[in-house]
């Protein structure tokens, strides 16, 4: 793409300075700057979806299935409809068109048609004058169910297909199966000096974003439908609404208001978006639906539970020869992103270490549980956990330092993985070095006394992929800029700011390129009527893709400004520099005008000012089916060292500190990058020690509340030390890569590895509950009875 080629990795002015620590040439990039919406968030002024109040607005509620698996024999809504204050009631037959974020696996409907597939599956929706009336009406809807056998164990779904959860699936209860082989895995395993083989379990977890899902819809007299939704994929919601409602997409507007967290939990089109739209169309009034926390737990799309089996073969000096994986993935009741998850479970493991041969065999099955989907580190956190624990065991068995083992297998930069992914910049060695030094690894590991230990793990992640969710040749990200004589520059982006700061990122880039004060730049985002398409905030693609598109658009506008001002001043263009809200002559310091004056000169000489820019990935990926899934224009790399204290009386693991080194290419704003790194590590640690998303023996969610789903509080959170590594990627915006998901991966295996250092047990099955720790400690003691002193670390 031309945009990328003209950008380079340097500042807009002056020579690129790879490795220059002080980033002298940048005015804004690389500096800690407040988010552009930070004050509005802190003061409560920002508007979230639930803040929207429209005249005459109705409130909608959803009736949900109390059965895990059942056929719907009949639905009678007459009593609900007759309740005063009720304006409309809809059920599955009113919205029968299927959707699903992946075009090949569309198996969802807004409301259940004929069948329900988990407890909480939406069945009907009511719009009424207020929430209480809507709730009351829900209880008047009579649904007759014929319960069916329900599946809660993914191993059963592998072998039993009667009854089938999705009737039209050709493979029974199997959602997706992928088997990919790269090289002679069996031969290399045979030839290995050591093969470590084991089973690992990843339980389910969910996002628990603080803002529950909310959508508001209204239809204008001329038919134009507007939907505000707390989504991280405005564009896909736009497409899905058009399909399900049978409307021309040009007559639908989707807007994402300020968002209170998503983490992947808002990257599917959801039932409520279709329901509010349909109810608004039926009633002719605006309709809002705000889910309860419980409903958010049912909507789920969180991390897939996986049962993983790994075999790793190595030479005696610790070089990996073969990795063989077999993974069973519990998908829950619908496909969601499951096709991608199944690929990601294997495709994203092939770095930062060199695998000469590799095979994975991943199967996703349906069960009658809330549907799983993408959660921060989609599809790759679970295999990364298993593999990094296995790698630690390899190091132990070979008598090698675990960091040294990882170093020896480093794949290097500007290379290709065994499964055909192109690696560009790779700062993993530097990440290892940072956490090794910061944690005092060499002096402290193994020497902290029984009960305290250090553990390491590494990982890699994508900065977006070249696989758009639906095949098309159009740009993945677009930007439009409008500038006018007051000095105001507005940037229009389809990108979804979900709290990660992508709107701020766009503002920094445009301000940097046009030499503006940040206050001159406005960002209009995620409004399909106003903004060019961006595919959305998922796969850590936004900074890389939207950032590049922003540079592209801004440089086109800058070229106009430079040309106009140079002509006005009758100097060479190279002398014109745009910086800090001014335009200056580099050879005559007396000549300096404000950027507003420069825009006036440009507007007079050209026309009304604007520009567009875009980004698309180069052709990437292996030349085989699925070879483009997980193919990213750049990969981020991370290493963590975690320090734990294990109490052998209670089995409780305390993470005392976590050092996080992350190669994000270049930190466009180090404050936000560090925040993403800390937030990721926090989330990973929580998944390892506290959080568990599951169902009880009836298939009911085990505790759909923030009391029972225990996210750590501030005092449960360890000291987190973020150390940013900048490898300056050749294709990222100013060299930037992702920072929002990669830094989650290593925390979970690093805890297991630290526990081994502390008390000599290997935790292979998540979550690491104290009960499991005690059990393993007992087993370990029984096996070594007599050999050890019996010393126990007390709390």
């Amino acid at each position: 793409m031309s945009a990328r080629e003209i950008h380079g990795i340097g500042a807009p002015f002056g020579p690129a300075q790879p490795g220059a620590p002080e980033n002298r040439e940048f005015a804004l990039i690389g500096k800690p700057t407040a988010k552009i919406d930070g004050l509005a968030k802190a003061t409560g002024a920002l508007q979230y979806a639930d803040d929207i109040q429209l005249p005459g607005m109705l409130h909608a509620k959803t009736l949900r299935s109390p059965h895990a698996h059942a056929r719907i024999r009949s639905i009678d809504v007459s009593a609900a409809l007759a309740l005063p204050g009720v304006h409309a009631v809809i059920s599955g037959r009113d919205l029968p068109e299927r959707y699903g974020v992946i075009p090949w696996t569309q198996d969802e409907t807004a409301l259940a048609v004929d069948k329900v597939r988990f407890i909480g599956d939406p069945v009907a929706a009511v719009a009424a004058v207020d929430e209480d009336t809507a709730n009351q009406a829900l209880r008047l809807i009579k649904v007759e169910y014929e319960p069916l056998y329900a599946y809660f164990d993914p191993r059963e779904s592998l072998v039993r297909h009667d009854p089938v959860i999705h009737e039209d699936k050709k493979d029974g209860n199997i959602s997706k199966h992928v088997e990919l082989v790269f090289g002679d895995v069996e031969g290399e395993l045979k030839a290995s000096d050591l093969v470590v083989e084991d089973d690992y379990t990843f339980h389910g977890t969910t996002h628990a974003a603080i803002e529950p899902h909310c959508a508001v819809a209204t239809q204008a007299a001329d038919g134009l439908l507007t939907v505000w939704s707390s989504t991280q994929i405005t564009h896909y919601v736009h497409r899905a609404l058009a399909k399900v409602l049978g409307l021309d997409p040009a007559r639908i507007r989707v807007v994402q208001p300020a968002l209170g967290g998503a983490f992947g939990g808002k990257s599917d089109p959801f039932s409520l978006e279709f329901c509010v739209a349909k109810l608004a169309m039926i009633t002719g009034r605006p309709v809002k639906m705000l889910w309860t926390r419980e409903e958010v737990f049912y909507a789920h799309r969180g991390r897939h539970p996986m049962q993983l089996h790994y075999r790793t073969g190595v030479t005696k000096d610790g070089r990996i020869r073969a990795v063989d994986a077999r993974i069973l993935i519990d998908g829950g009741s619908y496909s969601s992103f499951g096709l991608v998850t199944t690929y990601y479970s294997g495709q994203l493991l092939t770095g930062p270490y060199d695998f000469p041969t590799y095979r994975f065999h991943s199967t996703r099955v349906f069960t009658n549980k809330p549907p799983c989907g993408p959660k921060r580190g989609h599809g790759s956190v679970q295999p990364r956990f298993a593999f990094e624990v296995q790698l630690d065991e390899v190091a132990e068995r070979l008598g090698l330092d675990p960091i040294e083992l990882r170093r020896r297998n480093f794949q290097g930069g500007h290379t290709r993985t065994v499964n055909g992914q192109r690696i560009t910049s790779n700062g993993f060695l530097k990440c290892l070095e940072e956490v090794e030094r910061a944690s005092g690894w060499q002096q402290r590991r193994g020497k902290l006394g029984r009960g305290r230990g250090l553990g390491i793990a590494g990982s890699m992640y994508i900065s977006g992929t070249n696989y758009p969710v639906y095949p098309n040749e159009m740009p993945q990200a677009g930007i439009q800029i409008a500038a006018e004589r007051s000095g105001r520059v507005t940037v229009f982006t389809g990108g979804n700011d979900i709290g990660q700061g992508s709107n701020s990122m766009v503002a920094y880039i445009v301000a940097e390129e046009l030499g503006l004060d940040l206050a001159q730049v406005r960002v209009v985002a995620a409004d399909t009527d106003l903004c060019p398409v961006d595919l959305g905030a998922y796969s850590s693609r936004v900074t890389f893709m939207v950032g590049n598109a922003a540079i592209d658009a801004a440089r086109k506008l800058r070229a106009l400004i430079v040309e106009a001002v140079a002509a006005e001043w009758k100097v060479e263009q190279a002398r014109v520099r745009l910086i800090n809200g001014r335009v200056i002559d580099m050879q005559d310091s007396a000549r300096s005008i404000s950027s507003a004056q420069a825009l006036q000169i440009t507007e007079a000489r050209h026309d009304t000012l604007g520009s567009t820019g875009s980004y698309n990935t180069p052709k990437l990926g292996g030349d085989y089916r699925g070879g483009t899934i997980g193919a990213s224009p750049a990969y981020s790399f991370t290493a963590h060292v975690v320090e734990v204290q294990v109490c052998e009386e209670t089995g409780r693991i305390r993470v005392e500190r976590c050092w996080i080194a992350h190669d994000c290419g270049r930190a466009l704003n180090p404050m936000i990058v560090a925040g993403q790194m800390e937030g990721s590590a926090y989330m990973g640690i929580a998944e390892a020690l506290l959080e568990e998303h599951g169902v009880n023996r009836f298939g009911l969610h085990a505790g759909p509340s923030l009391l029972d789903y225990r996210i750590p509080t501030a005092i449960d959170t360890p000291e987190l030390a973020a150390r940013i590594v900048e490898s300056l990627d050749p294709e990222g915006p100013y060299g930037a890569k992702e920072a929002g998901e990669g830094p989650l991966h290593p925390s979970i295996p690093a805890i297991s590895n630290a526990v081994f250092d502390a008390v000599g047990i290997r935790l292979r099955h998540l979550p690491f509950t104290p009960g499991k720790v005690l059990e393993q400690l007992r087993t370990a003691r029984a096996m070594t009875q007599g050999k050890q002193s019996g010393q126990v670390s007390r709390c």
């Binding site: 509080t713 005092i715 104290p770």
Partner: protein
């Protein structure tokens, strides 16, 4: 957000007015103190009162008063944070102050009251859920159903007493002052409980807990509170231990008491404790042995069930651990014990 069901809220300024407000429809009325337990329970439709009578404006319920013979009176509307921070209480009744300091999180302790905590509804993973959830379950014995799900097909409600202050008050020999249409009655807190999770308190509709009275403690009184929970804030107890150790002037145990919470419908007093602790000189090896014996005693007498969320087998394993630490902590005077 879950909706708050409709009810009539009265905010009387005198106890008499509160009593008469309740007396009109006692079965359909409820008292609200801090609301930290009642409001979520109302949203879950565990209770459906037509009238809610607030005690918040009755100033007399917020006092700490010295009574005759060294007794201390605590108004039922004292905030848990006030109990936790109260100097006299911390000195004379350390287990109570410590228990109050570990209830929920800081915001909830500034709303939640001592009386409200004593009267906390029993808790269970099959019960503290929304109406939808409970309906999908087919309800449970404690509310709207006929079966207990803690043990498959159970016919007795075993929801757990999860109030942190109750075990501490039991070790202190507290008395509850309750007023109702028939006047005032005083009941030993030990006699206040029933072994039924569905209704574990002897409190009639129309009655109000107004005061908690504490008998004097001696200078040799030692106490501590231990609480097992997954997070260091917010969570209800998975297990709680209130310990009392009274020492004579020579440092020997003259009397000891242990009450365990979050096991079943009522707090459980460990039996025969004095047989292992009484007369033991603290600090030495004999004390260590005695503490281990007390822990073993508690382990044998306590059987956590899968009523509250969490691994009940681990909760049982934690009984001796928390008993040992809480007893030791009581004597050292450095409680509370939590987050081990």
């Amino acid at each position: 957000m879950l909706r708050m069901p409709r009810f009539e809220l009265l905010e009387p300024t005198t106890l008499e007015a509160a009593l008469s407000a309740l007396a009109e429809r006692p079965e359909k009325s409820m008292v609200i103190a801090g609301g930290t337990d009642l409001l979520p329970n109302l949203k879950h439709e565990l209770f459906t009162p037509e009238r809610v009578v607030s005690l918040a404006r009755i100033a007399s319920l917020r006092s700490v008063r010295e009574l005759d013979q060294g007794w201390l009176s605590l108004g039922a509307m004292l905030k848990l944070e006030e109990i936790a921070a109260h100097e006299t209480l911390r000195r004379r009744y350390p287990a109570l102050a410590q228990a109050a300091s570990l209830v929920a999180g800081p915001q909830l302790r500034t709303m939640g009251t001592l009386g409200g905590n004593v009267l906390l509804d029993t808790r269970c993973q099959w019960y503290n859920q929304t109406y939808f959830w409970r309906q999908a379950l087919g309800f449970c014995l404690k509310k709207d159903g006929t079966l207990c799900h803690v043990v498959e097909g159970g016919s007795k409600c075993v929801a757990a007493a999860s109030n942190d202050t109750a075990p501490a008050l039991m070790t202190l020999g507290a008395e509850l002052v309750i007023v109702g249409p028939a006047g005032q009655r005083v009941v030993r807190i030990d006699d206040f409980w029933l072994a039924d999770g569905a209704a574990n308190k002897k409190l009639d509709p129309g009655e109000i807990l107004v005061e908690i009275r504490l008998p004097p403690t001696t200078p040799g009184h030692r106490g501590a509170y231990g609480k097992l929970r997954m997070r260091d804030s917010i969570d209800f107890p998975l297990l709680s231990v209130a310990a009392r150790v009274d020492l004579d002037s020579s440092g020997k145990v003259s009397h000891a008491d242990l009450v365990i919470g979050a096991l079943q419908a009522r707090p459980v007093r460990i039996k025969k404790l004095d047989s292992v602790l009484a007369g033991v000189q603290t600090g030495g090896d004999a004390w260590k042995t005695a503490v281990s014996q007390a822990a073993e005693l508690a382990y044998r007498q306590c059987h956590p069930m899968p009523n509250v969320p969490g691994d009940h087998e681990w909760r049982r394993e934690m009984v001796p651990v928390y008993v040992r630490h809480t007893l030791e902590s009581a004597v050292r005077g450095d409680g509370p014990v939590h987050g081990l």
